[in-house]
Symmetry: D2
Subunit: 346 residues, 4 copies
């Protein structure tokens, strides 16, 4: 950290900052300039964070210069991680050596709709099935998902099709039942800073798909991953799904730069959700191609056998033809980026 | 709702939209133009929302033209509401006839610190005491609050000082213990779209202070209030606390226009939090004055007897002198806006 | 400035930074920590800015810690400035001792409409008349203003009514004709970073009203003012008119905090434009009240004798009754903030 | 357009809207619902825009449902356009059949630096040379470019290397001298809404590279292109260069979705500037790959023979090795998207 003192800070103000820092066991280096004094701090970030130096007299500003996260940081873990999802025979990797397609319906509606979507997904090369049983909706009048019934359908379809299941959890209270049925727990964009939920999935013993909050900086997102990691779970996959900006021709603005930025800062895998980022079916395949080319570890897309009758986000769901176009794009582009696109190891 | 068809939409496409609308019991009015056809829908918003018309062939766009909320809307409840907080002898109003000051420490640290902050608050004319026992923090390494111990301190201070208590709930799991100790439940900015928590506070039988999500549109915020109202609780007070923008000289950007915009659309009371909006002590009093003048029903501010040693948000906490300046501003300005500033009724 | 070196920066990298700084005549203070080295720089900001230190090997980050502007900074000019507009007999102040109302039509349409608007403005206590002759419009198909004909109308109305005139300049090519007819030159939000125009108004010998770019940080806005000041013109008044955010219930988001933030950093006067910030007539008076209360030096509002037939921004123009409500608000609130509201000195 | 009336709009209010529409020669279709009346308008957008319907009594809202631009719209010109730049022997296409690399120094500093940068660019497959002679800079203390001297250097390098030159114009006053030396005129992000400049380049008889305003919606950007087209110049290439958001790990947020969105709405070519979007050299190649994959018609990048000593934007300039990596990416990816990467036609 660097403390910038005000131009009129007194010697006593400077001494008070140095004193508080040194009491905590950290070191302070004072640089006295003509106009201002700067104090560089060296010590444990978490501890320095608690010193409340900004509130001391004479302090103009505090600049943090190291990342506030540790467990998910690449500084302490230079090799990028691979997260494995699923049980024996269906385990699928998400990480630097492969390009992973996750596909399925936005919401589980019926057994048949889910099964058909899963068949489409598998035929397109997906190695994981997504599907929502608990849906967080802006309107209390919108379809909220089938709940436990939806989880059961997902379990049945998994047994039939052989793809591990990713599903969202919206309430820490449901952690046991969701963890029982799912292979990977998704934390959605609205819950990225729901710290109670982050701690619950950190202890549930399953890999986690952590979507970026639509308003979250990359640093805040990595801090949310740190909450999960702190509870002993490092099997976290990040998912860029668009941020909120002034542009309204797309539902959100896909922050494609987040992929290489995260890969520089963190060892965790990162995938992209072009369906929710855009909200428009015609943009899903182009954005998925961009995700491959920028170096993402995978994509997650909405698929529906009959988008016109989907109960949730029909306008962004891929149908069969679009999905084959996506599959072709993955097959042609991903190898150029040094990635396998085959299924799970045997 | 208005459905705009694509220029090349066929007669069958138009008929399909009309058919789906009429099946649902709503009405459809078709306007055929030279370039495009427009279909106006009349019926229940919640139901039309579920029709997924945007996914039908030939549909270019769907414009919603009425508010998606009902219970909190001013359209059905033209008179602005007053919410009363606290028990016999300490009940305090928040609403159109009064200007309410809510003050207290960002985080409860000790009994003495909380008591001193409460004394400062009361001396300045506050009729409610705020104080955080459960703190949602971006960093897992930051102080997370005293939890139940903090709730007990708040209860003791309430008994001594006689101010009803507002405190944040971050986990639906804690609803009983928080509702037992608090007079008003606060839902924080990060949890505004935590629908499980909204439903829990909707059923807890206590008034709710609902902060705006830092990324939420006003409409989404009112939808969050609708979630609470749907569970039978209309005692909801909205709190504008700044939104996230590109400007970084303040922690957030206080959206002062939200106050009159909300008052036009909803009957719920609305207050302003200048402390969290700005993150800077020197801005709290000017922004509080702006809140009074724009027509807000109150303000909520951080107070600390010793900001230099606060464990949370010290740089934005008011100390004694600032608080007296705020009290003077309220006394001089609020009556000009037609508002009482006295305490609770006897 | 503070240079943060990468964890793996070599001694040679550090020496190279120090060398480049010292060659320029500035000083460098090196603080070696366990993980990182920090180098504090002391010298002229403008010169350090040109050193391109961020491009040197081993440099992780460069933090600027002093403001990049000088002439408009309050650090070198602690007393807040008053800008006087207009000639003998009509001179009007904008600054810390007064509260200035500027009013008039968004666009000059006819002599009669401008005269009527000016009469309304004067009756409400305005001491300056605004009116657009050159209109920057998003659409090339929208009304672009009367041009020089509009300037002449403004000049005639000024002669009749006795209010100095503020009008926008959109093209440096027009500087002579606009400066000839106007008492104050307005630079609009779209041109805040049109540096050629800033330099032209800096040399024109008339006071300038500099609107904030809808996308500009406060620092960039003050840098734009610095461009004008550099050409010898310190008679610059800043105007906050809303920034672009995700919220769409108002045309822009009025950044009310910008007023006290600017007043802390710069000695220049600052006023607020509630008409363009909101785009809604019903919000203009509440937001103007907020501007007074937060400590602004004035407001500028659109007035039209017949808003329903305005050629530009009719939905936000005040008509007679609204304007009287605004006048009453100014009379009651401004004195409480220590401000005169009387007209120009004799 | 669709006019939504307020719930309490009277029959006279509705008649007044219909009357004003019909007087203008357009048609109005009235749909009376239980709660509200909706009026659909059919006619010329430009004319309807001028009717100021939002200001009429009883009008709640006005929704525009067709694009406000015509000349650049794909609706009237379904085939995507190719713009050719340069004279005999060096003409280079930008459009749907090819993928164009534009490279060169951010700022022209010396003849040698420009020549070396041009040699690097040509070796990497660039078919156009970029270089700034007039630089718009946030700080008046930063290097502002060599001006006419820089244009001459660009002309000399063009003669030596044989690449057409793209350079920025910042002041309409310079239009003749810039058009004399350059093959393509660039309008920068800060000037996208400088309508005087747009009109000047519209009449200059040279192709235009129109960067997106960092705060502009896609629709506003296309309206800026319409300004140029209106003056008779349809040789406009759009350039996405990042928008301003809350995320600060990159200089701007590259809106990669803008590429397919623009291609749906407009026939104009669109390229991407990954250098200015990110401000970070390590992100330029990944983002350029994303641009290719999403379907852009080209990229424009900063190149410098010695980035450590660049006078402008050194941290984002590619040096030799990075540029070869970019060239390889273009060669391998662009053909998969159906694009030629060869040089200009003979």
């Amino acid at each position: 950290m660097v403390i910038v003192m005000k131009p009129d800070a007194s010697a006593a103000d400077i001494a008070a900052v140095v004193g508080r820092v040194e009491e905590s066991g950290a070191e302070a280096f004072v640089s006295r300039g003509v106009m201002r004094t700067i104090i560089g701090l060296v010590g444990d970030v978490a501890m320095l964070h608690g010193l409340n130096l900004r509130a001391l007299p004479g302090v103009a500003d505090v600049h943090r210069i190291t990342a506030p996260y540790k467990l998910v940081s690449r500084e302490n873990h230079p090799k990028r991680s691979t997260v494995w999802v699923g049980g024996v025979g269906t385990r699928a990797p998400i990480g630097p050596g492969s390009f992973t397609l996750i596909a399925g319906p936005c919401a589980v509606e019926t057994h048949q709709q889910t099964l058909q979507a899963a068949q489409l997904a598998k035929a397109a090369g997906a190695t994981l099935l997504r599907g929502g049983a608990f849906k967080p909706r802006t309107s209390p009048y919108a379809f909220q998902g089938l709940g436990v019934e939806g989880l059961k359908i997902l379990g049945e379809v998994r047994a039939t099709i052989g793809l591990p299941v990713v599903t969202e959890i919206v309430d820490a209270h449901d952690i046991d039942v969701v963890a029982e049925h799912a292979d990977m727990l998704q934390v959605g964009t609205r819950n990225m800073a729901n710290f109670a939920l982050l701690q619950a999935v950190g202890e549930a013993g399953k890999p986690v798909l952590l979507k970026r909050g639509m308003q979250a900086t990359i640093e805040e997102w990595l801090m949310a991953a740190e909450y999960i990691a702190q509870r002993g779970n490092l099997d976290v996959v990040l998912c860029e799904r668009g941020i909120r900006t002034f542009e309204n021709s797309t539902r959100n603005t896909l922050d494609i730069s987040a992929v290489p930025v995260v890969q520089t800062s963190s060892h965790l895998p990162i995938i992209v959700d072009p369906s929710h980022a855009s909200g428009r079916r015609d943009l899903v395949v182009p954005l998925a191609r961009a995700a491959i080319a920028v170096g993402a570890d995978g994509v997650i897309v909405d698929v529906h056998p009959d988008p016109q009758n989907a109960l949730c986000d029909g306008p962004q769901a891929l149908a069969g033809d679009d999905l084959l176009e996506l599959a072709a794009a993955i097959r042609s582009l991903a190898p150029l980026l040094g990635r396998h696109t085959a299924g799970p190891p045997t």
